[in-house]
């Protein structure tokens, strides 16, 4: 019987204790003054862990902001690089255009020179033909001159002979 009563008392004590614990957190009031809050160890441990987590989340937020700053700097750097590359491309295009113009001018010059050469060749051929004709004319004139001299000499001799005979 004693054992039964002891067991019953122990059971009731445990039940009351558990009921009290399950009611926590509770205000700790002394003489109608609220001095604090009573928590179970488990609840305090949870709060302790949550505070640790909160600190880590704050750190994570800072890390995120820091990383964002880095990314923004990289993006700015890349944008500046793109602008420089665009300037470079524009300059290269202009240079290419300038060189194309230069090539076209040189081609035109070559074409003009070829035309000039053809014209000079044509003039040279004409001159050669003219020289050949003039050479023939000179030969004819020389022959005529020779024949004239011989004729004059013959005439002179004939006249002298006739004068002598008379």
């Amino acid at each position: 019987m004693k054992k039964f009563l002891f067991t019953l008392t122990l059971f009731l004590f445990t039940f009351i204790l558990k009921a009290q614990v399950s009611n926590l957190p509770k205000y700790y009031v002394v003489d109608k003054d609220t001095l604090g809050i009573i928590l179970t160890v488990e609840q305090v441990q949870k709060l302790d862990n949550d505070v640790e987590l909160l600190e880590l989340f704050k750190k994570l937020q800072l890390d995120c902001e820091n990383l964002t700053t880095h990314y923004v700097k990289i993006i700015n750097g890349l944008e500046e690089k793109v602008v420089l590359m665009e300037v470079s491309i524009k300059d290269l295009n202009n240079k290419s255009k300038e060189q194309d113009d230069l090539i076209n001018n040189l081609k035109k010059q070559v074409s003009n020179n070829e035309k000039d050469k053809a014209l000079c060749d044509s003039i040279s051929k004409n001159k050669d033909a003219e020289i050949t004709i003039l050479k023939g004319e000179v030969t004819k004139q020389n022959i005529k001159k020779g024949a004239s001299i011989i004729g004059n000499v013959v005439l002179f001799i004939t006249l002298i002979v006739l004068i002598v005979k008379m």
Partner: protein
């Protein structure tokens, strides 16, 4: 004229590339730090710290300062 400009812009681009590489390195380091913080959060979420006794009291005192 254009060639000179292209050359000078090329030099600036080289400097910019070095700067970008340095910034990328810094960003990678920041990513590593963030990764570690995330791992710590994950660890605390999966395996909460369960301080006991004086350690728990000291921790709470420290946090409520």
């Amino acid at each position: 004229m254009y060639q000179n400009r292209v050359d000078s812009v090329g030099k600036i681009i080289k400097v910019k590339n070095i700067e970008i590489a340095r910034l990328k390195k810094d960003a990678k380091e920041a990513e590593e730090i963030m990764k570690k913080t995330k791992e710590q959060i994950e660890k605390l979420t999966n395996e909460p710290i369960k301080r006991t006794g004086d350690e728990l009291l000291q921790s709470i005192k420290q946090k409520t300062k």
